[in-house]
């Protein structure tokens, strides 16, 4: 019987580059920027790292394939480097590889690094890319906002919500994230916005306006992990450990079988239940202190609050508008500004989220630091489309808590 990952692996150090339109930087510059912070935080030498995982999703836009770009950028000493891609869950997937390597005893210290340089396309939004020979011949010509926008139509229909109420809650989500991003120097967008800004922004994919969509940016984030014992031997106190790492991947049921109604993420519901079990959490609304979710679009965040079993089904609009997820609320969501303000350099996003939990739990989050140090935090990534996707969940917490 598998016992799960809880408390088997500790985070030794983390780093995160400034996210944004890094016109003057190559992907390897961003990798080095994140890594130098992490290695200093870990207090080890580079050659103590025994294995590494690199996450990039749209590699044809920057570094190309394989683990080589990471090995070359950091001049890693001929250690195993694995490149992973799993839609927007790629970053968390790299973290999972490194954590599992340490948990298995295959490596004492492992590195997970995510990077994406998306701003060399010449246009806004995610780069156009192929979907595979057959898929390209029958999938609709859909964009990311267009596929996620459909959640709104189905959610409204299922829960009999007025379009304007849903739109207002979605707008609140974006305003809240910009309020938070305003206190984060590493964010791409640090400006505050108003409800009017959001509600009056140009339509991208009905009902998502410009301010319902996260930005696209360049960035990198990384984690160095080890066992709690080694962390302690290296002089770490107040150890932050991994409580759960779960992944759920659509098998075509939502896309092809009429049991799915289009209003929720089937994968998130499954992955979050498994993660709570692995982490020993029985009531997430009471036990989790901080959430970083995949707010690629405001409606994704709203629906995800229910799929994580924090808001009751059909109750997210109320919780959002009540300020439950605001920085001063019961469970802040995107206290760092989220994808909304960081943009979404795909391979980096998952670890950027874990980085924020890691800072908050150590009281190192500066102007946006929660007064009471969070005990349990959750990160969530959702890659692909609502009807066919990859969902990753991590739960991070104080070691032994």
């Amino acid at each position: 019987m598998a016992t799960g990952i809880r408390d088997k692996v500790a985070i030794l150090g983390m780093g995160c580059s400034k996210f944004g339109e890094r016109w003057d930087k190559e992907a390897d510059d961003l990798m080095v920027e994140a890594f130098e912070e992490a290695i200093a935080d870990a207090g080890i030498e580079k050659n103590q790292i025994e294995a590494a995982w690199l996450a990039t999703a749209i590699e044809e836009q920057h570094v190309g394939k394989s683990g080589v770009p990471l090995a070359v950028a950091l001049r890693l000493p001929y250690i195993p480097v694995t490149r992973v891609e799993n839609y927007c869950a790629s970053g968390t997937e790299a973290f999972r590889g490194a954590v599992y390597a340490v948990a298995s005893g295959a490596a004492d210290i492992a590195l997970a690094l995510g990077v994406e340089k998306l701003k060399d396309t010449g246009y806004g939004g995610l780069p156009q890319r192929g979907r595979g020979a057959l898929n390209s011949m029958y999938w609709p010509n859909m964009s990311a906002p267009g596929s996620f926008a459909q959640l709104a139509a189905a959610y409204r229909a299922k829960h009999n919500k007025k379009p304007e109420d849903l739109k207002r809650a979605m707008a609140h989500i974006s305003v809240k994230s910009h309020d938070n991003g305003n206190k984060n120097a590493k964010a791409h967008l640090t400006n505050k916005i108003t409800m009017e800004n959001v509600l009056q922004s140009p339509m991208i994919a009905e009902p998502l306006g410009l301010f319902d969509c996260c930005g696209v940016s360049d960035g990198s984030a990384c984690a160095i992990v080890t066992t709690p014992e080694i962390a302690r031997s290296l002089g770490k106190t107040d150890i932050i450990s991994v409580k759960a790492l779960q992944l759920s991947v659509s098998n075509g049921t939502e896309a092809q079988h009429n049991s799915w109604d289009g209003s929720y993420f089937a994968t998130t519901r499954i992955a979050s239940k498994r993660a709570y079990k692995e982490a020993g959490i029985s009531n997430p609304r009471e036990e989790i202190d901080l959430i970083e979710v995949h707010d690629c679009f405001s409606v994704t965040e709203l629906v995800t609050m229910e799929d994580l079993y924090v808001s009751p089904e059909g109750g997210a609009i109320k919780d959002v508008l009540d300020g439950f997820y605001d920085a001063e609320g019961k469970i802040p969501c995107q206290i760092d500004g989220g994808l909304k303000c960081f943009g979404h350099p795909i391979g980096a996003s998952g670890m950027r989220m874990i980085y924020e939990l890691y800072l908050q739990m150590q009281g190192k989050a500066g102007p946006r630091q929660r007064k009471e140090l969070p005990r349990y935090g959750l990160t969530h990534n959702l890659g692909g489309f609502p009807h066919q996707n990859v969902c990753s969940i991590s739960v991070i917490g104080k070691y032994g808590a």
Binding site: T121, Y138, M142, A154
Partner: protein, 493 residues
Amino acid sequence: MTEKNDVGILAFGAYLPRLRLSRKAVAEANAWFNPGLKGLAKGERTICNWDEDSVTMAVEAARDCLTGYDRGKLASVAFASTTLPFEDRLNAGIIVEALNLKPNVNAQDLTASQRAATSGLITALQMARGGAGPVLMIGSEKRRTRTASPLELQTGDGAAALLVGAGPVVAKFIASASRTVDFVDHFRGEGFEFDYTWEERWIRDEGYNKIVPAALADLFKSTDVKPADIAHFAMPCVLARVAAGIAKKAGMPDAVVRDNLHTVCGETGAAHPLVMLVDALEKAKPGDKILVVGFGQGCDVLLFEATDNLAKLTPRLGVKGHLARRKEETNYNKYLSFNDLVSIERGMRADVDKATPLSSLYRNRRMLTGFIGGECKKCGTLQFPKSNVCVNPNCNAFHTQEDHPFADTPAKVQSYTADRLTYSPDPPHYYGMVVFEQGGRTMIDFTDADGETVDVAAPMRMMFRIKEYDSNRGFTRYYWKAAPAGKPAQAKA
């Protein structure tokens, strides 16, 4: 009364695109250059949506024609058009695949003349008399015309289809006559985009007024039917009063000259004799004699008699139904852009290579062209596309899928969006999840959609359309799209 061995038209169908371009909008945009166009600026013409061509219209007309008919009985498909998307690839073959016909049907393209469809129809009727058939005879046309040309205002896009054979015919074939004369009123040479047209007065005097009467005289010599017996004279001709003059000279009453549909549709090229014939059949009473003319380097004339089987035909949209399925378009620039008659800034998102992997397309042709999915033999679940493992989570059986056609199954919208980010020649791009009535679903492009017609639970029907056009290689790739099938299910908020 009809006899078992009567030969003629067993069924008919048509397709006219939903968009109607206001001729006033065309004339107003171009009057600075040619004020004379204002004289042609009455009514509206049918125009294809950006994702339609002669093949897609032919498929829709054929589906309309085959409503309620067992497609397995078809022996032959003939496709007439002077605007074929492929010069070397059997265009009728695409239609055969889209209609899921048996591969043992004979299929051919008939082209290079405005009377290609009537000549094909005569051949089909002769085949049926010889015991062959049934033949599906389709005419479809999307003529490419120069900006500010009279042709731009005179033509329309459209298609019609006739099921020709022996049996319970709705119109019995009586006689035909043909003339072949190398009369070049217009032409389009190899590699040329547009027609070159000669003076209308000459076309009228030396062309229509000499060639058609001679063919009519031959026809009436071969039958007991007299010109005075004709109830419907269907002769496409954009020149004013020419058809009426020919009818009068031949001894037909004025009232039998059928409207050439100019004000509501325009002349649909090689398809137009069939379109006008279908229009006549929709209005004909049993016993009515119908005379059809196809003109082009000579002419074909065909005589039919409507039968009481007309009333027994399964309802279909036909010309009337498609004329009612209408959306006015007053934006001439949009028409120019749809037809690549103006170089519009499409943005970098339109830059992607649209090459088609031909081996993959071939391997998956039943799915992509025929819209065939699967039905699980074990649990009965329908799914699209078909796969090795049943999608039903309570079944998941391996290798149990049998072919199941989805093209004619009604569907409803589960979720949708109107996307302004993704590239579309007609933004915003509508698409979403549609759920089929008997099971199965698919995330699919919508077409002919707008804010008034699309909502959650809105009824949709599947239509055969262009998925991508690869302008680097000249390849048109087709697939199916969901189009609104009725009124919105709920009010738009």
